[in-house]
């Protein structure tokens, strides 16, 4: 939370961060090569990729909800725009007739940026071709983000004048409108209407989404720690005081909304690539709720929390808790574990967090090396202190009981 301007430890932390990031990337790279899709550890890769993508979207939502105090529920709609903006322009021309099977001549658009750049830079087999391909993907992702941001800008003009819950419901409404718009037959030659878009260019190493999401999240973190980030937080804390301090409410809300949507759009594009197909129907308000719950689990107002929350959420729902649906979990077998039980358990856990642990995993705190070192340094002392604490609690309880007794006696 606090940035301490402290030369030497600052430099040390930077170095540590770089080492950690490099190690992480190498790890992902190695895992990606070692783990085959048929291996039982492939779940790890699935969760890693999807978790990373959701982390980006959750952080972008947190920028709005946690840092600017705007309770927006339009994230799924913006992801949808990003996903389509990417997918529509990344399908190779030769595949278009199969994908746009119900539209004459394979729809309206007849080029694919990644494939085009690949051909321009030496073709599929050349190294230059591969670079062109990825360059096309990245450019298209930026385009997806920009388109999303542009639409968010327009939506923001009326919507951001609304107060908390009205804003929530209006953004929810816009997300639904976006969804039916993209499914509309009239746009079919571009969006393929109700049908799945697929066979578009996609990454082939798990390292790609991790890198992209990493860069995006790093930008968001830097933004939050900048003067603009402080202005956002001031709006969250007290709109009237913020305005009195010269913060232009509308401009900054719009800014936060647009930036958040940009990254939601990029996240949508990544999700499209992860799934290798996209259609509009899963982008419902339920998807937004899931992302919101990730933010809540991690802690509203903590980027670290959103990232942790996202991996936990995805791993639980896609991997660890699946056993609950199949009747066997952690060695326990039971008849009541039928399909759907996983989700009930999950919902109960989430309600527990919302009610009893509303600050989430991280509260508003962020990861810091100092914090980590401090944690380990004080760990032995704290462990040693636990018996004492328990004792204290116990005796406190006893004391309470005794006083109660005394009172009753009186």
């Amino acid at each position: 939370m606090t940035e301490r301007i402290n030369g030497s430890s600052n430099k040390r932390n930077m170095v540590l961060s770089f080492i950690a990031l490099a190690a992480l990337l190498v790890l992902v790279y190695v895992l990606d090569i070692v783990i085959k899709p048929t291996s039982s550890w492939n779940n790890l890769m699935t969760c890693l990729e999807k978790g990373t993508i959701y982390a980006l979207v959750a952080v972008s939502m947190n920028l709005l909800n946690g840092f600017t105090g705007l309770f927006s529920l339009g994230q799924a709609g913006f992801m949808l725009i990003g996903a389509y903006a990417y997918a529509v322009f990344a399908i190779a021309p030769e595949d278009r007739t199969t994908v746009y099977q119900y539209y004459e001549g394979g729809g309206l658009i007849h080029f694919s940026l990644p494939h085009m750049l690949q051909d321009m830079m030496g073709g599929a087999d050349a190294f230059g071709g591969a670079i062109g391909y990825y360059l096309g993907i990245i450019l298209l992702m930026i385009f997806a983000g920009l388109l999303t941001a542009g639409i968010a800008f327009l939506i923001g003009i009326p919507v951001l004048r609304l107060k908390s819950d009205y804003l929530a419901i209006a953004t929810l409404g816009f997300a639904e409108i976006i969804r039916s718009f993209f499914q509309w037959e009239g746009l079919g030659p571009v969006t393929n209407g109700s049908n799945v878009l697929r066979k578009f260019a996609s990454y082939d190493s798990s390292i790609f989404p991790v890198l992209v999401a990493g860069v995006c999240i790093a930008f968001i973190v830097m933004l939050i720690n900048s003067s603009y980030g402080r202005a956002f937080k001031s709006i969250r804390d007290d709109e009237i005081a913020a305005e009195a301090m010269g913060v232009n409410l509308f401009k900054h809300k719009e800014l936060s909304f647009v930036i958040s949507s940009f990254f939601a759009g990029v996240g949508g594009a990544l999700l499209a690539m992860f799934q290798n197909n996209i259609n509009a129907s899963p982008f419902t308000s339920n998807m937004t709720y899931e992302i919101l719950l990730i933010v809540v689990i991690g802690g509203i107002g903590s980027v670290t929390g959103s990232i942790i929350g996202s991996y936990l959420f995805i791993a639980c729902s896609e991997w660890w808790l699946r056993g609950l649906d199949k009747g066997e979990f952690l060695g326990i077998e039971a008849d009541f574990m039928t399909p759907g039980f996983r989700k009930v358990v999950f919902a109960v856990v989430i309600m527990g967090i919302v009610l009893f642990y509303s600050r989430g995993i991280m509260g508003t705190k962020e990861f810091s090396w100092d914090g980590l070192f401090n944690f380990f340094r004080t760990l032995p002392a704290r462990i040693a202190g636990i018996p004492g604490k328990i004792k204290a609690k116990f005796s406190a309880k006893k004391h309470k009981k005794n006083t109660k007794k005394v009172k009753e006696a009186q």
């Binding site: 899709p37 699935t46 109700s194 799934q275 197909n277 509009a280 998807m287 952690l330 399909p339």
Partner: protein
């Protein structure tokens, strides 16, 4: 407090990783040389939950009849690995990779073309062969070398339905599909092509997700003067449509594809003044031995009966699921191995004579099928009545 919860979470994580890791080394039965896993990629919830469960039933029954397979002279136990794809393209993808990572040799499913198309890429990437049971959209197998299918395709089914409508005197068809649903949009599209080619007129409309109020659609069909109501949508929506059509006195036959061949539909139509006609893969009574066997099996297990919707009326998808299981077994036998690559290599040449007819894979890995059964619902008894076997040349 916070730290303790974090610790707890970490512990849970570690445990579950172990659980996931250990889960694979399931104990091997004494008589078997090993286990072979067949993945069942079907929806158990969502829009296609009911159909998915019925299709799974056929596979489960087949597995209970033949729980073993001979590979290279040794007997292997066949285990089903069932995963719920929630009728959702996004969830389906991760469900598919979950299935793949549990080490299946071949995958069966899914009911609902959209999810199959979505997961197709995952199977393709992993090189895991998949056999579509009742997903009729051409896109499932087109351009995908690992996806095979044992049922007919929408262009065929759409033409059969259009022919049927035309031959029965319909000239203007009302076509209803669901927004964002590949299956109904696709089938309507082929129906419209064929029906227009015959000289008919069509009115096309779509309803949004989670729509329950179909009165206006029924009213539209009546107001536009249509004489057949074509709505090949999921059974969930279909039950509502039939109910509301009856309430508003639709006055024209309702026509649909294979999804409507379900006891959900007969249940909804029973006792009401509607005419429901479907095309399907299998006619109940076509193979008495199979019919009686599966009915007895369902009656013995209340859970299975529940999955079939509470009675033993057979759905065509159940019979198709049954066939699909044996096709998978044939492939594994022919491959002589549980390895996905070996199974994939022999799969195109596998043939099998099932209860729903012969399965021979042709172009694109699609089964060569030229017959669809037309059935009509008897609204008094709530049972299907055979009308005709239709084929096109």
């Amino acid at each position: 407090m916070k730290k303790k919860v974090a610790l707890l979470l970490a512990l849970v994580m570690i445990f579950s990783v172990f659980a996931a890791g250990c889960g694979d080394s399931s104990e091997e039965g004494g008589d078997y040389a090993g286990t072979v896993k067949i993945g069942v990629f079907e929806p158990a919830s969502g829009d296609n939950g009911a159909g998915g469960k019925q299709e799974t039933l056929g596979i489960q029954y087949a597995n209970s009849v033949t729980p073993e397979v001979e590979i290279g002279g040794e007997l292997y136990k066949v285990e089903l690995e069932i995963v719920d794809n929630e009728s959702d393209n996004a969830k389906g993808v991760t469900a598919a990779s979950n299935l793949i990572s549990s080490g299946v040799s071949v995958v069966l499913g899914s009911y609902g073309s959209a999810v199959s198309i979505a997961a197709g890429e995952v199977f393709k990437e992993a090189g895991v062969p998949a056999i579509g049971v009742t997903c009729t959209n051409p896109q499932v197998t087109a351009g995908n070398d690992v996806y095979f299918r044992i049922c007919f395709l929408d262009p065929f089914q759409g033409t059969v339905l259009a022919n049927y409508a035309w031959e029965n005197g319909a000239t203007k068809a009302y076509c209803l599909s669901k927004l964002g649903d590949d299956y109904s949009v696709g089938l309507v599209n082929y129906f419209v092509q064929a029906f227009k080619a015959l000289g008919g007129e069509v009115v096309e409309e779509q309803f949004p997700n989670q729509n329950a109020d179909f009165t206006s659609y029924v009213a539209n069909a009546k107001a536009k003067g249509c004489d057949v109501f074509f709505a090949p949508v999921s059974t969930e929506a279909a039950a509502l449509i039939i109910d509301q059509a009856a309430a508003q006195n639709l006055g024209m036959p309702m026509l649909a594809g294979d999804t409507w061949d379900s006891n959900v539909i007969t249940g909804a139509a029973q006792g009401k003044d509607v005419e429901v006609v479907v095309t399907t893969f299998y006619q109940e009574g076509g193979n008495p031995e199979f019919d009686n066997g599966i009915k007895a099996w369902m009656e013995a297990d209340s859970k299975m009966l529940e999955n079939n919707g509470g009675n033993t009326d057979l759905a065509a998808v159940t019979a198709m699921g049954y066939d699909a299981y044996y096709v998978a077994l044939e492939a594994i036998k022919a491959a002589g191995s549980t390895d996905v690559a070996d199974v994939l290599a022999v799969l195109p040449d596998v043939t099998y004579e099932g209860v729903c007819g012969q399965v021979v894979f042709g172009e694109n890995g699609d089964a060569v099928r030229d017959t669809a059964y037309v059935k009509k619902c008897n609204t008094e008894t709530g049972a299907w009545e055979f009308v005709a076997a239709q084929s096109i040349k």
